[in-house]
Symmetry: C3
Subunit: 109 residues, 3 copies
Protein backbone atom coordinates (compact mmCIF):
# COMPACT_ATOMS: atom_id res chain seq x y z
CA UNK A 1 0.00 0.00 0.00
CA UNK A 2 1.15 3.51 -0.83
CA UNK A 3 -0.24 6.96 -0.14
CA UNK A 4 0.17 9.23 -3.17
CA UNK A 5 0.19 12.92 -2.17
CA UNK A 6 -0.18 15.22 -5.19
CA UNK A 7 -0.20 19.03 -5.19
CA UNK A 8 -1.90 20.32 -8.37
CA UNK A 9 -3.27 23.63 -9.63
CA UNK A 10 -6.93 24.38 -8.88
CA UNK A 11 -7.68 24.64 -12.59
CA UNK A 12 -6.71 20.96 -13.08
CA UNK A 13 -8.36 19.76 -9.89
CA UNK A 14 -11.79 18.87 -11.32
CA UNK A 15 -10.34 17.02 -14.30
CA UNK A 16 -8.07 15.00 -12.03
CA UNK A 17 -10.95 14.19 -9.64
CA UNK A 18 -13.08 12.92 -12.51
CA UNK A 19 -10.27 10.89 -14.08
CA UNK A 20 -9.49 9.21 -10.73
CA UNK A 21 -13.17 8.37 -10.12
CA UNK A 22 -13.49 6.96 -13.66
CA UNK A 23 -10.47 4.73 -13.05
CA UNK A 24 -12.01 3.61 -9.73
CA UNK A 25 -9.44 5.26 -7.44
CA UNK A 26 -10.54 6.90 -4.21
CA UNK A 27 -9.05 10.29 -3.41
CA UNK A 28 -9.44 12.90 -0.70
CA UNK A 29 -8.86 16.54 -1.56
CA UNK A 30 -7.32 18.94 0.98
CA UNK A 31 -7.56 22.72 0.72
CA UNK A 32 -4.03 24.08 0.25
CA UNK A 33 -2.27 27.26 -0.79
CA UNK A 34 0.95 28.50 -2.31
CA UNK A 35 4.34 26.97 -2.39
CA UNK A 36 5.11 24.22 -4.86
CA UNK A 37 2.98 25.90 -7.51
CA UNK A 38 2.41 29.61 -7.79
CA UNK A 39 -1.35 29.62 -8.48
CA UNK A 40 -4.07 28.37 -6.12
CA UNK A 41 -3.67 24.66 -5.60
CA UNK A 42 -5.24 21.53 -4.15
CA UNK A 43 -3.61 18.56 -2.46
CA UNK A 44 -4.89 15.08 -3.34
CA UNK A 45 -4.31 12.03 -1.14
CA UNK A 46 -4.82 8.76 -3.02
CA UNK A 47 -4.43 5.36 -1.36
CA UNK A 48 -3.25 2.70 -3.83
CA UNK A 49 -1.87 -0.79 -4.05
CA UNK A 50 1.86 -0.86 -4.83
CA UNK A 51 1.25 -2.12 -8.38
CA UNK A 52 -1.19 0.71 -9.14
CA UNK A 53 1.18 3.57 -8.35
CA UNK A 54 2.40 3.89 -11.95
CA UNK A 55 -1.18 4.00 -13.21
CA UNK A 56 -2.09 6.75 -10.72
CA UNK A 57 1.01 8.75 -11.69
CA UNK A 58 0.03 8.42 -15.38
CA UNK A 59 -3.43 9.81 -14.59
CA UNK A 60 -1.96 12.76 -12.68
CA UNK A 61 0.50 13.47 -15.51
CA UNK A 62 -2.23 13.27 -18.17
CA UNK A 63 -4.44 15.77 -16.35
CA UNK A 64 -1.98 18.14 -14.69
CA UNK A 65 1.26 18.25 -16.67
CA UNK A 66 2.86 21.68 -16.95
CA UNK A 67 2.06 23.16 -20.37
CA UNK A 68 1.96 26.39 -22.35
CA UNK A 69 -1.35 28.17 -22.76
CA UNK A 70 -1.99 30.96 -25.23
CA UNK A 71 -3.48 33.90 -23.32
CA UNK A 72 -5.23 36.74 -25.15
CA UNK A 73 -3.95 40.15 -24.05
CA UNK A 74 -6.16 42.20 -21.77
CA UNK A 75 -6.70 45.73 -22.94
CA UNK A 76 -5.22 48.12 -20.37
CA UNK A 77 -7.82 50.20 -18.53
CA UNK A 78 -7.00 53.79 -17.76
CA UNK A 79 -3.57 54.08 -19.25
CA UNK A 80 -0.27 52.36 -18.54
CA UNK A 81 -0.34 51.49 -22.25
CA UNK A 82 3.43 51.05 -22.14
CA UNK A 83 3.04 47.60 -20.62
CA UNK A 84 0.29 46.53 -23.06
CA UNK A 85 1.25 43.52 -25.21
CA UNK A 86 -1.04 43.61 -28.28
CA UNK A 87 -0.79 39.90 -29.15
CA UNK A 88 -1.50 36.57 -27.41
CA UNK A 89 1.29 35.26 -25.15
CA UNK A 90 2.28 31.81 -23.94
CA UNK A 91 1.88 31.26 -20.20
CA UNK A 92 2.95 28.14 -18.26
CA UNK A 93 -0.03 26.52 -16.53
CA UNK A 94 -0.59 23.29 -14.66
CA UNK A 95 2.11 21.11 -13.19
CA UNK A 96 2.05 18.63 -10.31
CA UNK A 97 4.37 17.83 -7.41
CA UNK A 98 3.91 14.24 -6.27
CA UNK A 99 5.18 12.30 -3.26
CA UNK A 100 4.67 8.52 -2.98
CA UNK A 101 4.71 7.61 0.71
CA UNK A 102 5.09 4.11 2.15
CA UNK A 103 2.16 2.89 4.29
CA UNK A 104 2.76 0.58 7.28
CA UNK A 105 -0.88 -0.30 7.82
CA UNK A 106 -4.19 0.41 6.09
CA UNK A 107 -7.63 0.05 7.67
CA UNK A 108 -11.20 0.69 6.68
CA UNK A 109 -13.86 0.80 9.36
Amino acid sequence: MKLVVAVVQDKDSNNLSNALVNANYKATKLASTGGFLKAGNSTFMIGTEDDQVDDVLDIIKANCQSRDQLVAPISPMGGNADSYIPYPVNVKVGGATVFVLPVDQFERF
Copy 2:
Protein backbone atom coordinates in the same frame (compact mmCIF):
# COMPACT_ATOMS: atom_id res chain seq x y z
CA MET B 1 6.76 6.99 15.97
CA LYS B 2 3.91 6.76 13.48
CA LEU B 3 1.65 9.31 11.82
CA VAL B 4 -1.93 8.07 11.66
CA VAL B 5 -3.90 9.77 8.84
CA ALA B 6 -7.64 9.16 9.14
CA VAL B 7 -10.37 10.39 6.78
CA VAL B 8 -13.75 10.41 8.58
CA GLN B 9 -17.22 11.83 7.98
CA ASP B 10 -17.89 15.34 9.32
CA LYS B 11 -20.73 13.99 11.45
CA ASP B 12 -18.25 11.81 13.41
CA SER B 13 -15.53 14.44 13.55
CA ASN B 14 -16.46 16.07 16.88
CA ASN B 15 -16.91 12.75 18.67
CA LEU B 16 -13.53 11.57 17.42
CA SER B 17 -11.85 14.84 18.47
CA ASN B 18 -13.27 14.55 21.98
CA ALA B 19 -12.38 10.87 22.35
CA LEU B 20 -8.78 11.53 21.25
CA VAL B 21 -8.42 14.46 23.68
CA ASN B 22 -9.87 12.36 26.53
CA ALA B 23 -7.32 9.62 25.81
CA ASN B 24 -4.56 12.24 25.76
CA TYR B 25 -3.71 12.00 22.05
CA LYS B 26 -2.89 15.11 20.08
CA ALA B 27 -4.51 15.46 16.67
CA THR B 28 -4.61 18.06 13.91
CA LYS B 29 -7.69 18.30 11.70
CA LEU B 30 -7.38 19.24 8.03
CA ALA B 31 -10.31 20.49 5.93
CA SER B 32 -10.96 17.92 3.21
CA THR B 33 -13.63 16.99 0.67
CA GLY B 34 -14.98 14.04 -1.26
CA GLY B 35 -13.28 10.88 -2.31
CA PHE B 36 -12.90 8.08 0.18
CA LEU B 37 -16.26 8.84 1.72
CA LYS B 38 -19.21 10.32 -0.12
CA ALA B 39 -20.36 12.86 2.48
CA GLY B 40 -18.37 15.87 3.74
CA ASN B 41 -15.29 14.67 5.54
CA SER B 42 -12.34 15.69 7.71
CA THR B 43 -8.78 14.39 7.74
CA PHE B 44 -7.13 13.80 11.12
CA MET B 45 -3.37 13.56 11.59
CA ILE B 46 -2.40 11.90 14.87
CA GLY B 47 1.22 11.42 15.93
CA THR B 48 1.67 8.30 18.13
CA GLU B 49 4.25 6.01 19.60
CA ASP B 50 4.45 2.65 17.81
CA ASP B 51 2.83 0.81 20.73
CA GLN B 52 -0.15 3.22 20.80
CA VAL B 53 -1.22 2.71 17.18
CA ASP B 54 -3.68 -0.09 18.04
CA ASP B 55 -5.27 2.05 20.74
CA VAL B 56 -5.69 4.99 18.35
CA LEU B 57 -7.21 2.67 15.71
CA ASP B 58 -9.66 1.35 18.35
CA ILE B 59 -10.74 4.91 19.17
CA ILE B 60 -11.27 5.73 15.48
CA LYS B 61 -13.26 2.51 14.98
CA ALA B 62 -15.41 3.13 18.08
CA ASN B 63 -16.36 6.64 16.93
CA CYS B 64 -16.49 6.38 13.15
CA GLN B 65 -17.32 2.80 12.12
CA SER B 66 -19.68 2.50 9.17
CA ARG B 67 -23.18 1.74 10.44
CA ASP B 68 -26.85 1.73 9.48
CA GLN B 69 -28.98 4.65 10.56
CA LEU B 70 -32.78 4.63 10.48
CA VAL B 71 -33.91 7.74 8.62
CA ALA B 72 -37.51 8.93 8.87
CA PRO B 73 -39.09 9.56 5.46
CA ILE B 74 -39.53 13.14 4.37
CA SER B 75 -43.02 13.91 3.14
CA PRO B 76 -42.84 14.93 -0.54
CA MET B 77 -43.67 18.56 -1.15
CA GLY B 78 -45.70 19.43 -4.18
CA GLY B 79 -46.30 16.00 -5.62
CA ASN B 80 -44.01 13.31 -6.99
CA ALA B 81 -45.75 11.06 -4.48
CA ASP B 82 -44.67 8.05 -6.54
CA SER B 83 -41.19 8.20 -5.01
CA TYR B 84 -42.47 8.66 -1.46
CA ILE B 85 -41.44 5.85 0.92
CA PRO B 86 -43.91 5.96 3.86
CA TYR B 87 -41.65 4.17 6.38
CA PRO B 88 -38.18 4.74 7.89
CA VAL B 89 -35.24 3.43 5.84
CA ASN B 90 -31.74 2.28 6.72
CA VAL B 91 -28.92 4.48 5.42
CA LYS B 92 -25.18 3.74 5.75
CA VAL B 93 -23.38 6.51 7.68
CA GLY B 94 -19.90 6.94 9.09
CA GLY B 95 -16.85 4.95 8.09
CA ALA B 96 -13.15 5.75 8.22
CA THR B 97 -10.21 5.25 5.88
CA VAL B 98 -6.95 5.08 7.84
CA PHE B 99 -3.29 5.10 6.78
CA VAL B 100 -0.52 4.45 9.30
CA LEU B 101 2.66 6.12 8.01
CA PRO B 102 6.20 5.48 9.24
CA VAL B 103 8.00 8.52 10.72
CA ASP B 104 11.78 8.92 10.31
CA GLN B 105 12.13 11.77 12.78
CA PHE B 106 9.84 13.63 15.20
CA GLU B 107 10.56 17.05 16.71
CA ARG B 108 8.79 19.51 18.96
CA PHE B 109 10.06 23.07 19.16
Copy 3:
Protein backbone atom coordinates in the same frame (compact mmCIF):
# COMPACT_ATOMS: atom_id res chain seq x y z
CA MET C 1 13.83 12.56 -0.42
CA LYS C 2 11.79 13.36 2.67
CA LEU C 3 8.44 15.03 3.25
CA VAL C 4 8.58 17.35 6.26
CA VAL C 5 5.10 17.89 7.79
CA ALA C 6 5.07 20.78 10.28
CA VAL C 7 2.10 22.01 12.33
CA VAL C 8 2.70 25.61 13.44
CA GLN C 9 0.65 28.44 14.92
CA ASP C 10 -1.04 30.81 12.47
CA LYS C 11 0.86 33.75 13.97
CA ASP C 12 4.19 32.20 12.87
CA SER C 13 2.90 30.99 9.53
CA ASN C 14 3.83 34.04 7.42
CA ASN C 15 7.33 34.29 8.87
CA LEU C 16 7.93 30.60 8.20
CA SER C 17 6.62 30.90 4.61
CA ASN C 18 8.95 33.81 3.91
CA ALA C 19 11.98 32.14 5.50
CA LEU C 20 11.41 28.96 3.47
CA VAL C 21 11.03 30.92 0.22
CA ASN C 22 14.20 32.92 1.00
CA ALA C 23 16.12 29.66 1.53
CA ASN C 24 14.71 28.33 -1.76
CA TYR C 25 12.50 25.59 -0.27
CA LYS C 26 9.09 24.88 -1.74
CA ALA C 27 6.25 24.42 0.70
CA THR C 28 2.51 23.83 0.51
CA LYS C 29 0.29 25.12 3.30
CA LEU C 30 -2.82 23.19 4.36
CA ALA C 31 -5.65 24.75 6.38
CA SER C 32 -5.79 22.96 9.73
CA THR C 33 -7.35 23.37 13.17
CA GLY C 34 -6.81 22.44 16.79
CA GLY C 35 -4.96 19.57 18.26
CA PHE C 36 -1.19 19.67 18.53
CA LEU C 37 -1.28 23.37 19.34
CA LYS C 38 -4.11 25.15 21.11
CA ALA C 39 -4.36 28.24 18.92
CA GLY C 40 -5.30 28.32 15.23
CA ASN C 41 -2.67 26.54 13.21
CA SER C 42 -1.39 25.75 9.73
CA THR C 43 0.20 22.59 8.39
CA PHE C 44 3.21 22.93 6.08
CA MET C 45 4.36 20.18 3.73
CA ILE C 46 7.95 20.67 2.57
CA GLY C 47 9.66 18.27 0.17
CA THR C 48 13.45 18.12 0.75
CA GLU C 49 16.55 16.17 -0.10
CA ASP C 50 17.76 13.97 2.77
CA ASP C 51 20.75 16.22 3.45
CA GLN C 52 18.57 19.35 3.71
CA VAL C 53 16.28 18.06 6.47
CA ASP C 54 18.41 19.55 9.26
CA ASP C 55 18.44 22.92 7.54
CA VAL C 56 14.65 22.90 7.15
CA LEU C 57 14.23 21.92 10.82
CA ASP C 58 16.52 24.82 11.81
CA ILE C 59 14.35 27.24 9.82
CA ILE C 60 11.18 25.93 11.46
CA LYS C 61 12.76 26.18 14.92
CA ALA C 62 14.03 29.73 14.29
CA ASN C 63 10.58 30.97 13.24
CA CYS C 64 8.19 28.94 15.35
CA GLN C 65 9.88 27.90 18.60
CA SER C 66 7.67 28.02 21.69
CA ARG C 67 8.42 31.18 23.65
CA ASP C 68 7.07 33.50 26.33
CA GLN C 69 5.31 36.68 25.28
CA LEU C 70 4.50 39.54 27.62
CA VAL C 71 0.80 40.34 27.25
CA ALA C 72 -0.63 43.61 28.57
CA PRO C 73 -3.70 43.07 30.72
CA ILE C 74 -7.08 43.90 29.22
CA SER C 75 -9.22 46.10 31.41
CA PRO C 76 -12.36 44.19 32.40
CA MET C 77 -15.55 45.57 30.88
CA GLY C 78 -18.64 45.67 33.01
CA GLY C 79 -17.30 44.25 36.22
CA ASN C 80 -15.81 40.91 37.19
CA ALA C 81 -12.91 42.96 38.52
CA ASP C 82 -11.93 40.03 40.73
CA SER C 83 -10.25 38.32 37.79
CA TYR C 84 -8.45 41.46 36.61
CA ILE C 85 -4.65 41.18 36.65
CA PRO C 86 -3.26 44.76 36.71
CA TYR C 87 0.19 43.93 35.29
CA PRO C 88 1.56 42.30 32.10
CA VAL C 89 1.73 38.49 32.13
CA ASN C 90 3.86 35.94 30.30
CA VAL C 91 1.96 33.73 27.85
CA LYS C 92 3.43 30.80 25.91
CA VAL C 93 3.11 31.35 22.16
CA GLY C 94 4.42 29.56 19.09
CA GLY C 95 5.70 26.03 18.98
CA ALA C 96 5.89 23.48 16.19
CA THR C 97 5.19 19.76 15.88
CA VAL C 98 7.22 18.24 13.06
CA PHE C 99 7.14 14.83 11.37
CA VAL C 100 9.83 13.83 8.85
CA LEU C 101 8.32 11.18 6.55
CA PRO C 102 10.25 8.89 4.19
CA VAL C 103 9.38 9.26 0.49
CA ASP C 104 9.49 6.23 -1.84
CA GLN C 105 9.19 8.20 -5.06
CA PHE C 106 9.10 11.88 -6.05
CA GLU C 107 7.81 13.23 -9.37
CA ARG C 108 7.28 16.62 -10.95
CA PHE C 109 5.09 16.86 -14.06
